[in-house]
């Protein structure tokens, strides 16, 4: 039995893909956990985002240089074309990362919902209901998820603006200190984290083949700029509104939403939680969909829709166990934030593929190359 994905390659617009990635990234912003993200807080974070913005451009040069030569293909397809072995290896690596990100999303969702919103709710049942909904979204396919993302992004931006207005009365600029207070080393460390935690760039590298027109660079520019602006604004709000109080909160950004409640809404967090549930569904669905694709690459699409269900069960298992054993949860975080997935798949893999391409070109045209070298 074939999935919708296998009947035909879904085609989405560049704006839809940008919206999908921005939304997926906003999941982390909303339930930011300072203890597990190894992040630095305060004013340092604001400068780090700006430095990290430019650092990401530098690091992504090999990837976009490679993809420019293969318009309409994603990174895994390029790897498969240049070397079937590297193609299989990259599919396995992408599969692992996507499964881990999907599991982390489900675990985060469950953890947040059962600690900040419904402390008495069962983590197991929350996980099951969530995973069932995610599976349904994956079943609908990428086009449906992308269309939903555009609507959700508009709702998220609108509610964020309302939140911002509600927070204005709490802004205290005394909380802003020099971003270099802890030295340049802290800023550079935090900037490198900005890249390593930008896991949506992996989804971007895998979804480029679904674009109607090959405009990967445009999607990257749009996604990266908008997310950086949002992050700077959110960090500014967190620093100036919460100050040192933010250090005592497990979900500081969620606290901002609670504070922003005006007399009209009383506690604005209810609306935000509603939007965030939808955002988490989209994020988990995207990575589960990508994991299913990568498993298909490895297994030859033999199991049809069953691959989707198997991955869903795997995600449920990992997330349920990691919510119960917080050390596993931290381990998942540490793996994702360590830089291994990002540097390995978005820097080393493109460099390796560029080398393979150069070697293939050299083998095909040894004479031309040697003449060129002499000249």
């Amino acid at each position: 039995m074939l999935t919708n994905e296998q009947i035909r390659v879904p085609q989405i617009k560049a704006a839809q893909l940008s919206a999908l990635l921005i939304l997926s990234r906003m999941f982390i912003i909303l339930i930011f956990l300072p203890n597990t993200h190894h992040s630095v807080g305060g004013s340092v974070a604001i400068l780090s985002i700006i430095v990290g913005f430019f650092l990401t451009f530098l690091v992504m040069i090999p990837l976009f240089f490679l993809l420019r030569q293969y318009p309409g293909m994603n990174l895994q397809q390029v790897a498969k074309q240049l070397s079937p072995g590297v193609g299989r290896f990259s599919a396995a690596a992408f599969y692992l990362v996507c499964i881990v990100v999907a599991s982390e999303t489900v675990a985060q969702f469950t953890l947040f919902l059962t600690s900040a919103v419904y402390p008495q709710a069962s983590t197991f049942w929350v996980g099951i209901i969530f995973c069932a909904s995610v599976l349904y979204l994956v079943f609908l396919g990428l086009e449906a998820i992308s269309r939903m993302s555009v609507i959700l992004l508009a709702a998220t931006i609108l509610s964020s603006l309302l939140v911002g207005l509600g927070l204005w009365r709490f802004v205290d600029t005394l909380n802003l200190i020099s971003p270099l207070y802890e030295g340049i080393g802290t800023v550079l460390y935090s900037s490198s984290l900005y890249f390593t935690q930008n896991i949506e760039l992996i989804a971007l590298a895998l979804l480029l083949s679904n674009l109607r027109t090959p405009s990967g660079k445009g999607v990257f520019l749009r996604y990266h700029s908008i997310v950086s602006i949002i992050l700077v604004l959110v960090s500014f709000a967190a620093v100036t509104v919460l100050g040192s109080y933010g250090e005592t909160r497990n979900f500081p950004i969620y606290t901002l939403f609670i504070l922003s409640g005006s007399n009209v809404y009383y506690r604005f967090d209810y609306i935000v939680v509603a939007i965030w549930v939808a955002v988490s569904l989209v994020r988990a669905a995207v990575y589960l969909l990508l994991a299913t694709r990568m498993l298909g690459e490895l297994m030859g699409y033999r199991w049809g829709k069953w691959m989707m269900a198997v991955n869903g069960i795997l995600v449920l298992l990992i997330s349920t166990v990691s919510v119960r054993y917080i050390k596993l949860f931290q381990g998942i975080y540490q793996f994702l934030a360590s830089g291994i997935p990002m540097y390995g798949l978005l820097v080393l893999l493109p460099l390796l593929l560029l080398f393979l391409r150069w070697r293939q070109d050299k083998n095909q045209n040894p004479k031309q190359l040697s003449e060129g070298e002499k000249a």
Partner: protein
């Protein structure tokens, strides 16, 4: 295969509607003990919690929403333990989502605010906007005064709101107090509330000043006038009435309402020592003028009144800073954060010797007062004075 996918679809149909069931573990109103105010005292080594419970009396279909407040008192080695004992009364779940006040007793404040506030800071139902005040004596007295006949839990709220408007109170919410407790050297302050007996022996609440803390523990209490000095120095004063004597031999008296005050603090280093320049700008209007033979004022007299008001503000702020910062070494003004922000290198080197930094600090206060409304009353004399 078709059969299996049918089962899968059936499972989805069964599971997905579960998402539409709304709140999980929902509790009915009657299953909740809704707490409006909490008072925390110390009884030996144990926390003594006095809670004002909201108890709706209106039945279904009734138009009135008359409510009765009940007082619950429990004890425990921790606040969680004391809260847990509330369920021994009626088996209900305690709900803090509607709590708007936390009253800390004097002994509990002496032991340290952090121990008291940790429970409320980590409780998901409690708003960061929970207002924290200190009782002069036992917090229990304040809570019981609120539960008395004719009292409603909103009275304290109205009192505090008016107090804020009149420049008697700052804004020490849970968020603000925790922020200061987490800071390097800044200290929290809390409005001070006391109970007084009226003529008919009824207990009433009264704002009596401000409590200042050092290392999170109660250090001293300030009068209302000194509390105004703190709020002026921290740019938190919304409104104030000042009465000054002016004219020849200071025989005339003017009351001025200041409704627009702005305080700016700047820190600089002078010969390696911190200098704090505090600039206060106030605007207001004359409310009342009286002198021995009449009342009212003339435009020409405004400058003299302005100077007197500015002088009094400066004196109040100077006295408060001398007492709280220089003598008690309590940085309720957050000046340590100004030093950290504007002179970070100096702060890194000297933050461990904060007491020494305070001793070396020079504080310059400048007050600029502008009174451009002489009020509705023009200068006039009493009839018998005119005749002579």
């Amino acid at each position: 295969m078709r059969k299996i996918s049918g089962i899968f679809l059936a499972l989805l149909i069964v599971l997905l509607p579960l998402c539409l069931t709304g709140c999980m573990n929902a509790a009915e109103l009657k299953e909740r003990t809704i707490i409006k105010m909490v008072g925390v005292d110390m009884d030996g080594e144990e926390y003594l919690l006095t809670m004002l419970q909201f108890s709706p009396q209106a039945q279904s279909g009734e138009k009135t929403s008359e409510s009765q407040s009940l007082v619950i008192q429990t004890k425990g080695r921790s606040i969680s333990e004391a809260v847990d004992q509330v369920s021994h009364y009626n088996g209900n779940k305690v709900f803090f989502g509607n709590s708007s006040f936390l009253v800390v007793g004097e002994k509990a404040a002496e032991q340290g605010l952090e121990g008291v506030l940790n429970f409320f800071n980590s409780n998901h139902e409690v708003s960061p906007e929970l207002y924290v005040v200190m009782a002069q004596g036992q917090a229990e007295e304040v809570i019981r005064a609120q539960s008395g006949e004719g009292s409603t839990p909103t009275q304290l709220k109205s009192m505090v709101q008016q107090g804020q408007k009149n420049g008697l109170l700052g804004r020490p919410t849970l968020k603000d107090v925790m922020n200061r407790l987490q800071s390097d050297r800044a200290e929290p302050y809390l409005p001070l509330i006391e109970t007084v007996s009226s003529e008919n022996e009824e207990k009433k609440l009264k704002i009596s000043g401000m409590a200042v803390f050092r290392d999170g523990k109660l250090k001293d209490t300030l009068s209302i006038e000194e509390a105004k000095g703190v709020l002026w120095a921290t740019d938190e004063l919304a409104r104030a009435i000042i009465t000054v004597d002016f004219g020849e031999d200071k025989a005339s008296r003017a009351s001025v309402e200041l409704d627009n005050s702005k305080t700016k603090a700047k820190v600089r280093l002078e010969r390696g020592k911190p200098v704090l320049d505090l600039s206060i700008q106030s605007e207001g209007s004359v409310h009342e003028v009286s002198f021995d033979r009449g009342g009212g004022t003339e435009i020409g007299e405004l400058e003299e009144i302005q100077n007197e008001v500015a002088g009094q503000i400066k004196e109040t702020v100077q006295h408060t800073i001398d007492k709280v910062l220089l003598e008690e070494k309590c940085d309720v003004f957050r000046y340590s954060e100004f030093i950290k922000k504007y002179e970070p290198e100096y702060w890194k080197e000297n933050q461990q010797d904060w007491d020494k930094v305070i001793d070396q600090m020079t504080i310059n206060i400048s007050v600029d007062c502008r009174i451009d409304h002489p009020g509705l009353e023009s200068k006039h004399f009493q009839v018998d004075s005119k005749a002579t």
